[in-house]
Symmetry: C2
Amino acid sequence: MTIVRPFMQKLEQLGPFGDQERRLLESLSFNGTITFDAGQDLAREGERPSDCKLIVEGYACRYKALKYGERQIVSFHLPGDIIDLNSLLLGRIDHSIGALTLVKCIAIPHATLRDWIERHPRLTQMLWRDTLVDAAVFREWVVNVGRRSAYQRIAHLVCELVTRLRAAGLVQAGACDLPPITESDIADATGLSVVHVNRALQQLRGDRLLDLRAGVLVALDWERMRQAAGYDPAYLHPLAEAA
Amino acid sequence: MTIVRPFMQKLEQLGPFGDQERRLLESLSFNGTITFDAGQDLAREGERPSDCKLIVEGYACRYKALKYGERQIVSFHLPGDIIDLNSLLLGRIDHSIGALTLVKCIAIPHATLRDWIERHPRLTQMLWRDTLVDAAVFREWVVNVGRRSAYQRIAHLVCELVTRLRAAGLVQAGACDLPPITESDIADATGLSVVHVNRALQQLRGDRLLDLRAGVLVALDWERMRQAAGYDPAYLHPLAEAA
DNA sequence: CGTCTAGTTGAGGGTCGTCAATAGAGGTGG
DNA sequence: CCACCTCTATTGACGACCCTCAACTAGACG
């Protein structure tokens, strides 16, 4: 039971998995971890990282900043997620990666990954599949900000997070609590203003669908929230079944 | 100069390319093409296609339909684009693919692709890279519908299309005309209503940035349109340089 | 005890959606 | 050749959703 446990669990959901690959990933435990404070950037738009980062603890997000300070979060990431696979194949990254909480991660050098990819086609396919699931999430987010009301957008976002946390084995007990994200984060993820997020959240609270207090989101009524959001986890593919 | 020319041109932009791969792709010319009328679906959400489709002629889009008939287009595709690579690795597709014009495409059986992937790691990497560029476009679309005004959204969409058409060698002469898409398509791609798209387009016309008549978009003033949209093609990665 | 961040509230206004009606282009059939 | 139909574009009126600005509260932390 090493610190790469969440990562292995995720990859196991993405495809058949041999002892060879298992040993490869285990070896990562010896890399040592890097720590980022909440608010710090793990990487910045335009950079050319020489490694990919695997989250071991904490929550991060990918975002793009526009001039005048607006920003749009395009995805959230949990322990076990490997972000930045883009940089391996595309070089320059087109978005920044920010830490939402304290984040511990392992940096996997591109050289190592390139080596793995050459020698382990099965692993390659799993990583490729992972980026495809990522892309599927982006698509759903386009739908979310494009065609849903504020109320629905937030509900949908919460639904997705709950499903992914479940798939990652990060939900304990009945009341599944979500990562501590601020209303400002939700606003940036849904394309809304902070003020309006606040009001929509009050409605969701009033309707007893969810509750956000002291930075912790609690899903109260899963089925009604799913309905309200028009949420269908099929787009998460393997992660949907694992949840 | 075969019908797979646009596809090869695109892959050449995505990575080093040997004679071996070239011959592989040439062999596709013998597969015969399938034709779809404008408005028809090449594939539907939830299906499990047994092949991937390579567009040879015409324009298509990926979209998701919500209940009550709203829909959100999540990407446009041109000749040379291989859509549906998702289905190869994820099975079920989470979105539909519609033909915007008459579309001719080659169906590449999954079996063939699987064979290629096993034997040609370089080709694998190019296809993977292609899906990563796809994902980068989705990210930018999230930003577009999430944080830009109607006016900017449309300008940005047009900028992206022009860049990609250039990269695909599909822009002739000075006045580069775009594929015949309706205002309704633009509405579905930008998360706006048809009526509002119409008014925003009138403004863009009034400002002499672009013109849409008889279903053909014409970019009038590239630099000012870029400025207005806040457009930076960096997210298109290899395609940006090729344009 | 002051300062900082996150959350909350009210007022007012702008962007954008809905509904409904009209105009024009293209296609089809009598 | 013209009547008719359909699809796309267009316009006006009206209202809703959401944004901005601004002020205020509450908790965290030194």
